[in-house]
Symmetry: C3
């Protein structure tokens, strides 16, 4: 996954343009059945209109001595996203109105965009900005902003049921590692893992979109189907660094996606930060909006807007690590494994079954009883046909994954039945 | 309001009689459309019967030297409310059976009544009582207890909707400031403020009654209408002193009146005491009784029966203050302002609206976002057509009054609709 | 009760056999209308089959010098329950495979059974076991394991209503005091107390069964009737020692049995341990199983599996006491008394009734009011026809038993009606 991020890192993505196309092409190399689609600028999607396509070829600031002191070729964050073209010479004080830097982080280049209002600008380290001397500067931005397309992709991996798990991630940031490319990397590796399974109960839908406008476009085309079939979904973002784990709940906080994500975090990592939906900031803004109401959460490592390097040039390959990515991958894998087994179960008859004659219960009664037997009896005690595997695991206080083989044993012993759901 | 209380203070009110009539006349001077009514003694009201009317003209205790040592003319608390007439001379030890004082508060004259059992008595400071010497005393009470009327008044200020806010207060205590006259003062000033508005969504009903028997009589005549139309109500009492704020919830504690009162206290004062309904003691006893079940609470300052001066001569003009009254007035005004705007709202479409093109969202995306924009986005996130303004304010964690102008902006921008309620 | 336990203590009970029959005969002496029944070995009960009947006449281990070093005649725990017959001589190391002892409790003889797999064995103190010298030992168990019957008994004491309280206890352990005989003793004395009442609103069902298989058999014969009529039930077990009190909730923890048991513990003992249903271990395993779902809890003193002497020879007459038994008896009596009165009540009309003219309210209004009057007014405030006596007591914060005479007064005063339930 880390190498995959490294390959994607240099590409200058935005919400439209060739950067997205090249990124989707690399994803398609890993997921051959990926379906890539485009919608034309001007297309209406709910309250929104698909904007013009932005093409950026280069740009720089040259000082009066002819030195390129800020250059897109060095770092694609240097140019404000969706900058209109310009080629002009101006005094420093006029140029200042088009510069963006972070006084509190003097060495970081900020990431700034202006998708829906035409303007141009440069981003640079505050330390460099402060060193600029009065005088004339030439500014060049070689970009085009005209009717084109917005690109996105999806991949549906069918299972026995049409009940779906939605996995959405975004592909619209330039060179940024944790808050962007960690998401597509983990999503692609989850897809590859699921593709290798011989049977799947659930259907899985992977969505790769530009953030906000992309998910709105996607929802405008699939809303009714998704509302009918998605039982749980995840926006995978910010899953690359080594720091703690965190959870973004859905709007109501009680969906299956909330339950499985929180259960996995509670049982499989030492601690995590549970954010409020008020602190949301990615595509759950759309997936959980009123009228969409999909059950979508995010398991993250360092959450967007909650770490210093966020939306700056410091969110780079040094910030993330193979361990960071694989830790998040493991938690999502656990979520999917539990969702696969998460049916409601019911005991076959009234009273406890006689597990002893089936070799599942000790034949000698002494003062002690094994933890495994306790879990099995407790599972049966709460298998009422109403509670799903997760609910029972929560009551018993054991990881749901540990109940999966027990449920299998009890099903085979005919003392348990799976209630369809 | 303080001057208004000062004007009403000297009048000797009881649950019937000219004291109530004079008080209602002064209120009518402020609220010209006040509707004053009377019901005859002997009238049945649910389980109760309107008692005889009590007229008190004077009374005193005279010692053997002919000095009037206790005199109604000095303080109308000196005579037990509803005392039967007497003119007799007796030994101190016989008189003692008719005297009431408070050993723990030696300088306070207690307030004592006997509405439903004929008796006579005097109240005096315990210090004075202890100084009485054996000997003969003449006791005179010049009162009449005979068929007459019980007086009360109401005032209905109509709005666009027949949904009503009920404001009830009582007018049956003699010279007592916090636990009586602060209530009518704040109620009258709220009525005057509402009268001055050009439009009102809600209808407001102000009720001025003798406590207990008066609210029972009022309910017996209006119960069905009130049950159909009152959406929130307040018993305004004990709102005059400078000490802390407090809340008396309704019986179930979950009505709109509970929600708005608690929200206002939580957001607009530093701290407050939330009492249990088990500590009730005013007309919420009737309004919240089984079979009446109106949504009625009280925001108070020092609650009846919870401060030392309660029901004594120390509950006087020194105990209350203009600041005390205006503090309570401000909180009730906030409640009414929120209730006016407290509809359910729903976003116009799925997904977030594009606020940027309406000038409601910054066009430049940087790391920061303003609190105002956050509140607006959060309001939209929870505007699901089920939650009212108060519920959304509680989730977002901001004062509901701050959401009122935001809701107005969003309604005008056509991204929000008000769901009738 | 203590003497009754002493009489039953020496009998060697198991889940079948003459020990149970003799025990039930002694119970029938106290409850003449006890109905004793038997079911044949091989009978199917849900997932279970009634096992062969076990008859034990004696058994011992004899050392090479001819001394009986372990003898059933000394303590009936010495032989593993349901041991098959044997008469053989063997080396110590072979014998060891059939010995059971507790290294952590070197002086305690453990209680071990093997109901559903044929084997034989001896239990002895670990100190004695360690003293055994290599050599030959003769082992004799004079038992029979063959088709016979399983015995159990019940007793139904009818009341005005067919709503039932179920009281179940077990009679299948050999000489053990707290975890066995305390239960039948308290159950029998509760039955005797109820028999002496001239009127009872509720019907009471007492069940005496071998644990697990006995309750399963009983449920297989009465399930539908019990599900229709039992409103609360108790498994009475471990109610004999002097240590703290404890509560085993039902599976869902919200039944009437849970509510009354927890209320009584909260108001009538200093403190208690509330266990989780995950720590269950007696017949609530069956009564609260999915598909049975009866409202059954246990008030206990030291809970099975939670005290050192449990299932050893130390659970004897010294562990329990008359005080221990009577303390538990008192709490169950309180539960039954509350259940008898636990109807829903409703005030006769809107608003508070005028209690003064009925002599139930002070005629003189001063600053104070009595606790009794407060409870009465609070009871009326929450008597909404939906809440039962227990629910009102919980809200008011007073013991439910104190509300019983108040409710009676209010019913007689015609200000309250009992809503049938």
């Amino acid at each position: 996954m880390y190498d995959f991020v490294r390959e994607l890192f240099p590409i200058c993505r935005s919400i439209t343009g060739d950067g997205v196309r090249r990124t989707l092409a690399i994803i398609k190399r890993e997921i051959p059945d990926l379906h890539v689609d485009e919608v034309a600028s001007g297309t209406q999607a709910f309250d929104w209109t698909v904007p013009n396509e932005w093409s950026i070829r280069g740009g720089y600031i040259e000082d009066s001595a002819g030195h390129r002191i800020v250059d897109f070729a060095d770092n694609n964050l240097h140019i404000v996203g969706y900058s209109t073209p310009i080629d002009a010479t101006m005094e420093l004080n006029e140029l200042q109105r088009h510069l963006h830097s972070l006084p509190d982080q003097p060495d970081a280049i900020p990431y700034v965009t202006s998708y829906y209002k035409p303007r141009w600008g440069f981003c640079l380290a505050d330390r460099q900005r402060k060193s600029l001397k009065p005088g004339k500067y030439r500014v060049v931005i070689d970009s085009t902003l005209q009717a084109g397309h917005l690109s996105y992709a999806d991949y549906v991996l069918p299972g026995e049921s049409r009940d779906e798990v939605l996995i959405s991630t975004y592909v619209c940031h330039p060179s940024m590692a944790n808050n962007e490319l960690s998401g597509p990397a983990v999503a692609v590796w989850l897809a590859k893992s699921l593709m290798s399974l011989t049977t799947r109960r659930l259907t899985y839908r992977f969505v790769f979109v530009p953030e906000t406008i992309g998910s709105i476009v996607y929802l405008s085309r699939h809303l009714e189907y998704l509302q009918q079939h998605v039982i749980a979904g995840f926006v995978i973002t910010c899953v690359g660094d080594d720091r703690g784990y965190s959870l973004m709940p859905s709007r109501e906080g009680t969906t299956l996606a909330d339950r499985v994500a929180e259960h996995v975090l509670q049982h499989h990592v030492d601690n995590f930060t549970k954010y409020s939906f008020l602190q949301r900031g990615s595509d759950e803004r759309q997936y959980c909006s009123v009228g969409v109401d999909l059950p979508v959460t995010s398991i993250m490592r360092s959450k967007y807007a909650a770490y210093d390097e966020y939306h700056t040039s410091l969110d780079n390959m040094d910030l993330i690590s193979p361990q960071g990515l694989s830790g998040a991958y493991r938690l999502y894998s656990l979520c999917l494994r539990i969702l696969e087994a998460n049916r409601c179960y019911r005991t076959s008859g009234p009273c406890e079954p006689q597990l002893g004659r089936r070799g599942l219960y000790p034949t000698l009664s002494t003062k002690d009883s094994a933890a495994q037997v306790r879990s099995m009896m407790n599972f049966l005690a709460y298998a009422d046909g109403q509670r799903d595997l997760l609910a029972i695991a929560e009551i018993i206080g054991v990881p749901a994954v540990e109940l999966i083989p027990l449920a299998e044993q009890l099903l085979q012993a005919d003392v348990l039945v799976a209630v369809s759901r």
